[in-house]
């Protein structure tokens, strides 16, 4: 979605909502529906749980709007609520994967190079196919949470390294390390799979 924020306008809307013009809340959140849902769907196993998480997130944000002080961007604040909501729901479902604590970069370099030579580029038209969208969603979902979060914020929502660090309350160095691993894991997972979904000819010529 990648919305460019009009922060002053948002700040005014938030102030008005807090003064009782609650109707404005609908307009305030409209640009973020897609982001919040994407985050939720990459944590939950199905669309219906993801929709629940998204709804709860927007409600919680409304109820806590008085605590939003404008020190962060509204989008970043909303994302932290989404993450908490999704994590909480997963804990209750007890399907939290074990997080990989070892963050050395060594493993990330182990890539099956033979597979890669045959697949470099899948055209974005391929996203019209549900199968391809599902392969991508599944690959994101297969990452353990610390990698998934960083990849979502940086590469799906396209926040900067600094914004990603702020949303996750970790250092920028940690973001870079996790991001690197996450991207390499995505590539390792996806290269063989996407290869089989694209026609034989090379697209980049």
């Amino acid at each position: 979605m990648k919305v460019e924020l009009s922060a002053p306008n948002e700040a005014q809307m938030i102030a008005a909502i807090l003064h009782g013009d609650t109707e404005l809340y609908h307009d305030l959140i409209r640009p973020y529906e897609h982001s919040v849902y994407s985050m939720a769907l990459s944590f939950m196993k199905n669309e219906s749980d993801a929709e629940d998480v998204a709804q709860e997130t927007f409600l919680k944000a409304f109820r806590n709007l008085g605590q939003f002080r404008g020190q962060a961007k509204f989008s970043t604040w909303l994302i932290s609520i989404t993450l908490n909501e999704a994590r909480g729901r997963l804990r209750r479902q007890s399907v939290v994967r074990m997080e990989i604590l070892d963050e050395t970069l060594e493993e990330a370099g182990r890539v099956q190079s033979a597979l890669l030579r045959e697949w470099r580029e899948v055209p974005s038209e391929a996203l019209e196919r549900k199968e391809v969208r599902e392969i991508l969603q599944e690959a994101i979902r297969n990452l353990s949470p610390i990698y998934r979060e960083v990849l979502l914020l940086r590469d799906v929502e396209e926040l900067s390294i600094e914004e990603t660090a702020a949303a996750l309350t970790v250092s920028t160095a940690t973001v870079k390390v996790r991001l690197h691993r996450a991207r390499m894991m995505m590539q390792k997972q996806l290269a063989p799979q996407l290869k089989t979904t694209s026609p034989k000819r090379r697209w980049f010529q």
Binding site: T22, F58, E121, V122, A126, L136, V156, K176, R183, L194
Partner: protein, 89 residues
Amino acid sequence: MIIECKHVWNYISGYLDDSLSPEIRELVQRHLEHCEICSAVLDSTRNILVLIADDRVFELPVGFSDRLHARLAREIDGDSLELRDDSVH
């Protein structure tokens, strides 16, 4: 100085974010020029990032917005008095 493939792979993410130091970037660049495998790793990683940034990967289900705003409208009406009285932090 020459660097090996496994070292280049450690820099791929930084290369894509353009956050490498000029010296490292130069080393990686020179390696990529003659190494087909590393170029493929780089290209495929870049391609994956282009794909996952596309809004179509996570499409909103039909009726999502309507259901969301209907629920918000219901609950906000119920809460609006409490919100105005918000003094908790």
